[in-house]
Subunit: 323 residues, 2 copies
Amino acid sequence: MPDLPKSIRINEEGPREGFQIEKGPISTARKIELIDSLSLTGLKHIQCVSFVNPKNVPGWADAEEVSQGFKKHPGVSYTCLWLNDKGLMRAIATKRYDIRGSISLTASEKFLKRNQNRTLKENYTAQGGMIRLFKENGINIDRASMMAAFGCNFEGDMPTERILGMVAQVFELAAEHDLEIKVLSLADTMAWATPATIKRIVGAVRNKHPDVELALHLHDTRGMGIANAYAGLEMGVAIYDAAVAGLGGCPFAAHKSAAGNVCTEDLVFMCEEMGIDTGVDLRKLIETAILAEDIVGHPLPGSVKGGGNLAVLREQIRAAQAA
Amino acid sequence: MPDLPKSIRINEEGPREGFQIEKGPISTARKIELIDSLSLTGLKHIQCVSFVNPKNVPGWADAEEVSQGFKKHPGVSYTCLWLNDKGLMRAIATKRYDIRGSISLTASEKFLKRNQNRTLKENYTAQGGMIRLFKENGINIDRASMMAAFGCNFEGDMPTERILGMVAQVFELAAEHDLEIKVLSLADTMAWATPATIKRIVGAVRNKHPDVELALHLHDTRGMGIANAYAGLEMGVAIYDAAVAGLGGCPFAAHKSAAGNVCTEDLVFMCEEMGIDTGVDLRKLIETAILAEDIVGHPLPGSVKGGGNLAVLREQIRAAQAA
């Protein structure tokens, strides 16, 4: 039996990822309702909104209103996404979020061009600019992320050496600015990973940088999300992004079925069943997943919300035995 | 990196499992169309129909017609399901199948009562009767299966010792009848397994019975199917039941979302991407999965049919680079 972590931390991205991609307009009140419901599940990190250009992402034209509307629950860290200085300034202005600075590199230049219209070099320079902006605003920077770390629809497979080279750039950039990176998130942005790829890339990065804590951002487009998370657990990874009910997806990934992140309640189910503590109340989370389906008005991909919580079945079985 | 098998054998159960559970009537011609399409994918084992009471399973009232209608492809073994002597006689009468004898025990008595209206003891006796019937008809018996081997909606978790005890009964019964069991299939009939349960049960059975080859039958009701298959691969299991597009499900499992077997094309995708040979042409299999959706007239759960085949993306990337 591998040495699985005793507990994991989940960064819930359902609201931010989900409402970004939904076609139908969703009211501000219902977006707030989902965040408030998530706040009561035991999740400790909730990414709420995206401060992006409403022309490109009309689903987040009401980011400010949503930010002011949800009720903060003690012990929960609320975060948000931005892609440039304008977005960051909007995020700060709300005074509602834990603003955490991060260096964000992308392993695939072609994807970066399509996604953010930048070359690798331009992005490196831009990240330097973001770091200066974080510092000017007194924001701590101890995280980094690498998009397309397991493969790219436009460039193909990612050789281990290339990812190690890109990760080295992250640490170079951090050193240039006197930063210490504590968490490095590897993102399977276009769902190229299998458990073997997870083990190859995570293993290589961990061997080279044993002191940085690794996180995984896994898309489920090809149905590998939970298996990839399991491979991550086997490698000792203890931080995962996830989306309740499997909300969301990447609008730039060039195919129709760009499924979202790995589903939070399915991940919680797997972990809790295997004795890995998530801190989450699965019953409340399943209720929230069903709420998410009601809000978007169509079925969402998560399985446990329909398949059922074994903890509840066990109670029913015990009650029947006692009767 | 674990020692994964170099190749696996897939027993395709989509037609049999799928058409058993679909609500709408599906024409005999379209059932045959699916089997004929599967025959050209490289799959070497296809379970086609179920010879059961048409009053209980109206979807298989045309089992004889389907059996006579599909075109046999060289090198493919066509099989079918029966639950009693009457079904077996119907199967033999078609002269279309590789009739393979099997001992079928169930770890949960409550499930057995609901599913086949038998106690464990009655089933043990009934299996003895089936063995005699196989022998009278010159049918080789070298396989066994254990339903509910990882947990049960009516009895709960399955302690390792209990499964080992049930497996011991399989071998006792085989010894009584001078049979050698070569393959033992462990079925997660009600989707209670996580990768940890797979490793616990498979590991214990393998340690106790190192000479029998293990197979896995994995339901995906709680989204763990592919992760459980990966855990099986890590344990060296090289035989898997699967259903194209994720067709099917168990009508007796007492909840709405009784998803079917692990999806064949998602399993093939994971294996081929990890260098494990399946013998299957994933392009043709994805076409067949899309055909299956057309036949049943509603979305089916498989992911790769929508998410896309990376082998095709790699070719497009190479072509774009060469241009």
